[in-house]
């Protein structure tokens, strides 16, 4: 009797679920959070998996507080937006980047709270999202352990320090590497409120916006970011950032005047 009742209920649930999730293709990584994350990041936009979005990271998470990830979608023309996220992190999205006058490339380091898929999603002008990624195994605690500078207690002395360098690449591009001192508090550690860099933009000497991004606390402490921007040797780049306390950060770097390096 019980079974006879439950079959139509299960069918009904399946139909309802099927209709609600029809917008998203089945996840090749089999992640339990795929649909939930897709709904919050992609909404009603069309989504498909595309291996041309290269999500590159080491096969081992040696340090779950700072795990390097690069998204390279330069093989796809017309990328307007790039989102880096880890499904099973308590703060899934790390960076939401708009490469306005820049190549579809970003590299950074993120925290890992457990074994999780790591994904790159890029959006084209027509609104569709192309997604790729893979699983990384990790010990727990990357998001819920206090930052090293909080433990040492010297974070405030170094806040605002920005390091960086910019190298010309072939084809009128420049590789910019940035590293900020910032605790990037997740809010998941007892008695330490959320506090992180939340916006960053890079402009050239004419004030042209080359790229801008939103940043979440799942980016590693002392954020390091690598971009490829439309700029050449001798150009001056201005970097402006703001954190969740409203503190402004500003840096300037001149692109090295050297013969262009081969693009890695």
């Amino acid at each position: 009797m019980k079974r006879i009742v439950s079959v139509p209920v299960a069918l009904l649930l399946a139909l309802l679920a099927g209709r609600a999730e029809a917008a998203y293709p089945a996840d090749p990584l089999g992640s339990p959070m795929w649909t939930a994350d897709a709904r919050s990041i992609f909404g009603d936009d069309p989504v498909r998996f595309d291996p041309r979005v290269k999500v590159d990271f080491p096969p081992i998470a040696e340090n779950q507080r700072a795990f390097p990830v690069a998204i390279d979608a330069r093989a796809i023309p017309g990328v307007k937006r790039m989102v880096l996220f880890a499904d099973l992190n308590p703060i899934p999205v790390a960076i939401d980047y708009r490469p306005d006058h820049a190549a579809a490339y970003i590299a950074t380091r993120i925290k890992l709270d457990q074994r999780t898929p790591i994904r790159g999603a890029v959006q084209l002008a027509d609104g569709q999202w192309l997604v790729s990624g893979g699983w990384i195994d990790a010990a727990g605690g990357g998001c819920s352990a206090p930052p090293v500078s909080r433990v040492k207690g010297d974070w405030a002395q170094h806040l605002g320090e920005i390091r960086g360098e910019a190298w010309p690449l072939a084809g009128g591009q420049t590789r910019l590497r940035l590293s900020f001192r910032h605790p990037m508090d997740t809010g998941l550690v007892a008695n330490i409120a959320t506090y992180h860099l939340e916006t960053l933009r890079v402009t050239d000497a004419d004030g042209r916006l080359l790229g801008e991004m939103e940043i979440w606390a799942s980016v590693a402490e002392d954020p390091a970011i690598t971009l490829m921007l439309a700029a050449s040797g001798g150009d001056r780049l201005t970097i402006e950032a703001r954190d969740t306390n409203g503190r402004d950060y500003r840096a300037q770097v001149d692109v090295t005047k050297q013969s262009p390096m081969p693009s890695p």
Partner: protein, 315 residues
């Protein structure tokens, strides 16, 4: 119905046997000198397939009893090692040296009376601070291999320069660089040098707690110390005694230079983990694995040193 139940029962009956088979360590000592045996660990990362038994262990037969240099990753390993070693020499284990804090070398201490387990004071301090964290990580990777393993600190802090076991003298060399406190031992009877993880041989050096300039100083001291053959922390016996020291030095010099160059060229950490490894290191096991780990250990500090400050004053 009946068939499937039988299949399930058969499966259940088979399970304990399978579990036992996957968690029994094969310990195979090879004679490398008069009264000295080496147990060669797997030249691989710590993984479930090897139960974490990747470090080399040395067994020395003395008139006073059996001496062990390092005792492996788990209490089960150490119990098996103790039984194999005592059968080999016919004498009880009277001393267990733990060369440094890393869990593949010394997490098996619980198999012995702490009074006979000895380490340098710095290694004991490091084990007190970090041992539990290492043990947690080992349980996570190795699961059942670790069952029953607890961090038990060595009961004897080594401050003397040698220990005498019924006339067999062991010189104790207090060094550092692979970790903040690394013990090497010289068996004066045979001239055999037990170098711990200060020396790797045909297996890439690991660097999670390394200080490379201290490491170089220690390698110079080992090189200058007259000795015969050498048992490295990982990799095969170096019967000539000089090749493994030179290879370890070559690797850490190359590694530091290559990572520095990677930062200078603007590579990100993902890219730095893929730098070309020179062909002369082709014989080294786990080379790519250790390069990627080392990038994680050293890269942020090299960036902080080499990338110039670009923040605009007053902003």
């Amino acid at each position: 119905m009946i068939v499937s139940r039988r299949a399930i029962l058969a499966g259940l009956a088979a399970m304990p046997a399978v579990a036992r088979a996957t968690t029994s360590y094969a310990i195979d000592p090879v004679a490398v000198g008069d009264g000295v045996w080496m147990v060669h660990g797997a030249d691989a990362p710590i993984e479930a397939a090897n139960g974490g038994a990747i470090a080399n262990i040395t067994i020395i037969d003395t008139l006073a009893g059996t001496v062990l240099c390092d005792c492996g990753p788990s209490v089960r390993y150490a119990q098996a090692l103790k039984s194999v070693a005592e059968k080999l020499t016919g004498k009880r284990v009277v001393r267990v040296y733990v060369t440094h804090l890393h869990p593949d070398h010394g997490l098996g201490t619980a198999a012995f009376d702490p009074a006979i387990v000895a380490a340098l004071p710095g290694a004991i301090d490091a084990l007190r601070a970090q041992g539990q964290g290492f043990a947690d990580a080992m349980y996570r990777i190795l699961g059942d291999w670790m069952r029953g393993t607890d961090v038990v600190l060595p009961g004897r802090a080594l401050v003397s320069e040698r220990e005498d076991f019924g006339g067999r003298q062991l010189r104790l060399l207090a060094l550092s660089g692979h970790s903040r406190s690394d013990l090497a031992l010289l068996d004066e009877k045979t001239g055999l040098l037990v170098a711990g993880d200060l020396v790797f041989h045909n297996r890439a050096p690991s660097t999670p707690t390394a200080d490379l300039s201290q490491w170089r100083i220690s390698l110079d001291r080992l090189k200058a110390q007259p000795h015969g053959s050498l048992i490295s922390g990982h990799g095969p016996l170096d019967s000539g005694g000089t090749a493994a020291i030179a290879q370890t030095r070559d690797w850490i010099d190359w590694l530091e230079g290559a990572l520095t160059q990677a930062v200078r060229e603007g590579l990100d950490m993902v890219e730095a983990g893929k730098i070309a490894i020179p062909i002369r290191f082709a014989s080294m096991a786990a080379a790519r694995y250790e390069v990627q780990r080392s990038v994680s250990h050293f890269y942020p500090a090299i960036e902080a040193q080499l990338l110039p400050r670009i923040d605009v004053p007053g902003s």
